[in-house]
């Protein structure tokens, strides 16, 4: 079979290049925007995933991980008495102020527990250690804080809410959705720092189930014993937190808009080049019909051309998206291109390219057959 579609497509190399670069541009745009969106959301719940709790007990109707309301820390004992629980601990999450040498203040989100070593947070230590956190005014900051607080080292002193703390650890990757860096300190120390807010209070109770426990049953029992709290599975809590950001900030809409615009750019470019190319080759299509081809033969050819443009364009668009990862990381953002995203963008590219070929289909269908005789 002589591949007229492919040969014609590649015959005009410049046009082919314009088509695929249009597709590639759109693909890069959508991948980067989608990846940034996933990256931001990933930040917003990374501590939920890393901590490793099966269940999260929150104050009633908490919308989101970062927007906490405190509740009595003694609830912990009621929680612990529920069968099927292997471990339950209080967790404070609170916004505090760090004084900068310049006199300015910056916000940090403090995570405070009695014993971090039993949980997965913080998950990466660049320097120092969290051992003995409870034995003094000790704090660990995330390395990302150096962007806001200026460079710091383990052994330095920083003032948190007016109290001098020694930096004993430097973590990595612990950021919130708003990219506010996280700090880690002892549970009681945190309560002392903000007595009005935190005295006798906790923000969360995190629960690890016994290996053979039935999560639904434990959750139901916790809900029964703690009627003024909510209980979520880690997955549900993370989802709720993410949904909150998507729904209540511009980011969901913003991501949707750029993805939409990216698709639009791609479709317009492909439709336009396919269409002009169809118009230019109309006489050839007429000839295909005259020498025995059908509309279907021509549709197939256009469809094939569109798919090739899609596949090549996708490949060319994927590479820069990958290459942008370090650049974006340098800007303190995370670009996460999951296989799901890649697959969706790939399928979307092919489908949209085929859709843009439909504009040309209509032209071919209504082709004036006598066109072939015209000069």
């Amino acid at each position: 079979m002589v591949d007229l579609g492919l040969k014609t497509l590649l015959f005009d190399k410049v046009r082919f290049l314009i088509t695929v670069s249009g597709v590639a541009f759109a693909v890069t745009l959508v991948l980067v925007q989608g990846g940034l969106f996933v990256g931001l959301l990933d930040n917003s719940t990374i501590t939920i995933e890393k901590l490793g709790a099966d269940l999260w007990i929150t104050s009633k109707n908490s919308p989101n991980l970062d927007f906490v309301h405190q509740f009595p820390d003694s609830n912990l004992y009621r929680a612990r008495s529920v069968p099927g629980i292997s471990r339950a601990d209080n967790l404070i999450l609170s916004f505090m102020q760090v004084a900068l040498p310049t006199g300015a203040e910056e916000t940090t989100i403090v995570y405070a527990m009695q014993d971090f070593s039993r949980w997965g947070v913080p998950w990466e230590l660049e320097a120092g250690s969290l051992d003995g956190l409870e034995s003094g005014s000790f704090v660990a900051f995330d390395e990302s804080a150096s962007k806001r607080f200026g460079p710091f080292e383990v052994g330095d002193y920083r003032e948190v809410n007016g109290h001098r703390f020694r930096v004993v650890g430097k973590t990595r990757g612990a950021k919130s959705f708003t990219t506010t860096p996280l700090a880690f300190m002892d549970f009681h120390r945190a309560q002392e720092l903000q007595p009005d807010l935190l005295s006798g209070k906790t923000s969360y109770i995190v629960v690890k189930l016994a290996p053979d426990a039935d999560p639904a049953a434990v959750k139901a029992e916790l809900e029964r014993r703690l009627p003024y709290n909510d209980v979520y599975t880690a997955k549900a809590w993370a989802e709720r937190s993410r949904d909150y950001w998507v729904a209540n900030t511009g980011i969901g809409f913003n991501a949707f808009l750029t993805v939409f615009l990216g698709c639009l750019v791609g479709v317009v470019v492909v439709a336009q080049t396919l269409y002009t190319s169809t118009m230019e080759h109309l006489k050839e299509f007429g000839t295909v019909k005259a020498i025995g081809g059908s509309n279907l033969d021509i549709y197939r050819m256009l469809g094939q051309q569109a798919s090739i443009a899609a596949v090549v364009g996708f490949a060319l668009g994927y590479v820069p998206a990958e290459l942008l990862k370090p650049v974006i990381a340098g800007a303190g953002l995370k670009l996460i291109i999951r296989p799901e995203l890649t697959a969706v963008v790939f399928v979307g590219t092919v489908v949209l390219c085929l859709l843009s070929a439909i504009v040309s289909f209509r032209k071919v269908k209504n082709i004036d057959p006598a066109l072939v005789f015209r000069t």
Partner: protein
């Protein structure tokens, strides 16, 4: 046996409110192996008539039978089948595919008519040899002269042995000596293989190869 039968063919074009009757009862019969030249002034409807015979355009009324099959424009797929089985076209502009070599142009036409693979390659070669283009098989149309292009186009029209070859001004873009060569080749092929050949033309040289010359005037065919 007539391979082309056209009886009382009319064609009216509608342009906005105006209607233009181009064909007003054109009739023509062409026998197998016969070469007919169709002459007429510009705008007289030659191309229109040819398009109707070739099943590219529907007649307003009248009927057309090609190689025993009734041409029915109401059924486009039937029409396409008639075109594929029985008709070969040759155009003034050659209409070769610019991205395909001479051999591929012929081979593609074979593919459309159901001949594939090595059989198509072999037949394309053979057809190009017949029109004297064996040494230009791998040339792209842009690297061929007008006469060479028209030879390739003729080879393409001969694909799958159509009963009828319709040519619209095949020599108009060729210079005199080349035109004569092409016409002689054309006439010879038609006669030897018992194809009907209808050549629309202004070119007086066509009369030398034609068995019969008919004219078109006032929407009708006159001998």
């Amino acid at each position: 046996m007539f391979t082309v039968v056209a009886e009382d063919v009319t064609k009216t074009f509608r342009e906005g409110r105006e209607t233009v009757a181009v064909l007003k009862g054109a009739s023509l019969h062409v026998e197998a192996g016969e070469v007919v030249a169709l002459e007429g002034p510009s705008g007289s409807g030659k191309t229109t008539f040819l398009s109707i015979l070739g099943c590219l355009l529907s007649a307003t009324s009248g009927h057309v039978v090609i190689a025993g099959e009734k041409v029915d424009q109401a059924r486009p797929s039937a029409c396409q089948a008639v075109r594929r089985r029985h008709i070969g076209f040759v155009f003034q502009q050659f209409n070769l595919f610019p991205a395909l070599t001479a051999a591929e142009n012929v081979e593609y036409a074979l593919n459309l008519k159901g001949v594939d693979g090595t059989a198509a390659k072999a037949q394309a070669r053979e057809l190009l040899e017949r029109v004297g283009m064996a040494d230009r098989m791998r040339f792209l149309p842009r690297d061929l002269s007008g006469g060479q292009k028209q030879r390739v186009a003729i080879a393409r029209a001969l694909v799958a042995s159509p009963s009828v070859i319709l040519a619209d001004e095949p020599t108009a873009n060729l210079d005199a000596s080349v035109a004569t060569q092409v016409l002689e080749l054309f006439g010879e092929l038609a006669r030897r293989e018992q194809r009907s050949l209808l050549i629309v033309t202004h070119d007086p040289r066509v009369r030398h190869v034609a068995d019969r010359v008919v004219g078109i005037a006032d929407g009708r065919i006159a001998a």
